[in-house]
Amino acid sequence: MSPQGGLLRLSGLLLGGVAFVVLALAWQGAYWANVFPPKLFPSLATVADTLVRLTANGTMLVSAGATLFRLLFGFLLAGVVGVVVGLLMGRVQGIEDALLPIVSFMYPIPGIAYAPLFVLWFGLGDAPAILLVAVATSFTVIINTWKGVKSVKPIWIRSALAMGARERSIFVKVILPGALPYVLTGLRLGLASAWRILVAVEMLMSVTRGLGWLIFGSQQFLNTDVMLATIAVIGIVGMLLERQVFLRLEQATIVRWGMMSA
């Protein structure tokens, strides 16, 4: 690597770290100045310590595992239902006319607004939490899939027809790949949305284990260090989900097929 290249990389790393250093200093400053009582505002060292302790005794892993488990099922359900409904809406005009008002109405309603209702209907625990996440996320997937199908250029369909393709082939070979960028966007947004809702839902639905529950339960004993450690974990997992899952999926499909530049 050329000296200029090396210097550039170094400066890049340094700049990237500036914000964190500033934040860390501000945090510690607030801690020492006793802006809040120490029980409510732990030092960075305490938080780091708690994070290590909770990871070591397995609490963090169990909680993260439980949350991810719910995320997986809720998201899968939302994905399947969402893509199916979206495809139907996109291909069959009658279904689009019928469902669009309902979907547009329910799309902007925050999923967690349904939480108390779900508690009344289904009780507390895993199944209602998964169901709630699924319901709340499915609208994003539906809308994006629908848009994707609508965005398939008519000329592609006509070319396929001209080459003698039948309805089924058109669907599988033209519509599905054509809509795929939008579908993936919808799933990506849906996953991020599901993750956000899930943490809130865990707080409201008294699940027995989970990252959201960990935060909520720490309120009782004012364990702010546990709260902050958990928030850090939530951020990390969220970031990993975004990067690893979707980026790779995108690379493998639509980038390879030349529909989107990396």
Binding site: G12, L15, G16, G17, V18, A19, F20, L23, F36, L40, Q93, G94, D97, A98, L99, L100, P101, I102, S104, F105, M106, Y107, P108, I109, P110, G111, I112, A113, A115, P116, L117, V119, L120, W121, L161, A162, G164, A192, R196, I197, V199, A200, M203, L204, L211, G212, I215, F216, S218, Q219, L222, T224, M227, L228, T230, I231, I234, G235, G238, M239
Partner: protein, 281 residues
Amino acid sequence: MNVAQQRIAAIEVAELATPRRRPPRLVALVRGAIAIAVLLAAWEYFARSGIFSRAITPPLETIFSALVAMIADGSIFKHTLATMLRVAIGLLIALAVAIPLGMLMGRHPVWERILRPPLAVLMPIPSLAWVPLVVLWFGIGNVATVLIVVYASTFSLLYNVWMGVKTVNPIWVRAAQAMNAQGSRLFRHVIWPAALPSIITGIRLAFGRAWIAVIGGELLASPQWGLGKLIFDAKEYLNADTMLAALFVIGIIGLFFERVVFQLLERATVNRWGMASGARR
């Protein structure tokens, strides 16, 4: 005609018969209305069937009368106003923070390098995860809720502003500079309009996030008034009719903002300036 040509002709006829183009608006409206009617009828049947107790799956007239009662005693307006105020204040603060920062990041790579990592780290954290902590720090009520709204809306807005400014077509910038436009003129006449579609998308997204944050915040931070609080308290007395009425109101407001406010905004700025072709649904 050979077989292939016959087949194509048949398909074309079939396609004409079942148009994939948009049918006349009346048909669409009727279908939509039928679907809604079916849904409501199914609910009514479900509610009266006794599978769940009447209290928690109330029939439509109960929900309606709950809504009417809340309109009559004015409580629904107080709740709605409280929620909307929180969203408004939160969004304003988010705009004040995100637009300048986003512009900075978009135009100056140094700032981009500095601000990008914290953005990447903080953005995936759900705003609602912060609520118990924020409540402990700032107490229950308005301050905590508004802070959560600010957190939720700032990041998505910042991202969109940044991207919008960053992806302004450099040719436009250079052309303007060739015509001797500098500084604030460059900004006003080239960068700002060019970034506007992204910014509006950002505001739209931020509004959605703010809406989620405010309802969730109200559920967890116990303010005195608010639609989220209304739903939460109704649960304590099994008042599912109130809950559903409140959900309906939330839906109406969301629809209003999406269809009316944002589309108007788009039409008045972006579409008029020719940046996006055609109105979106």
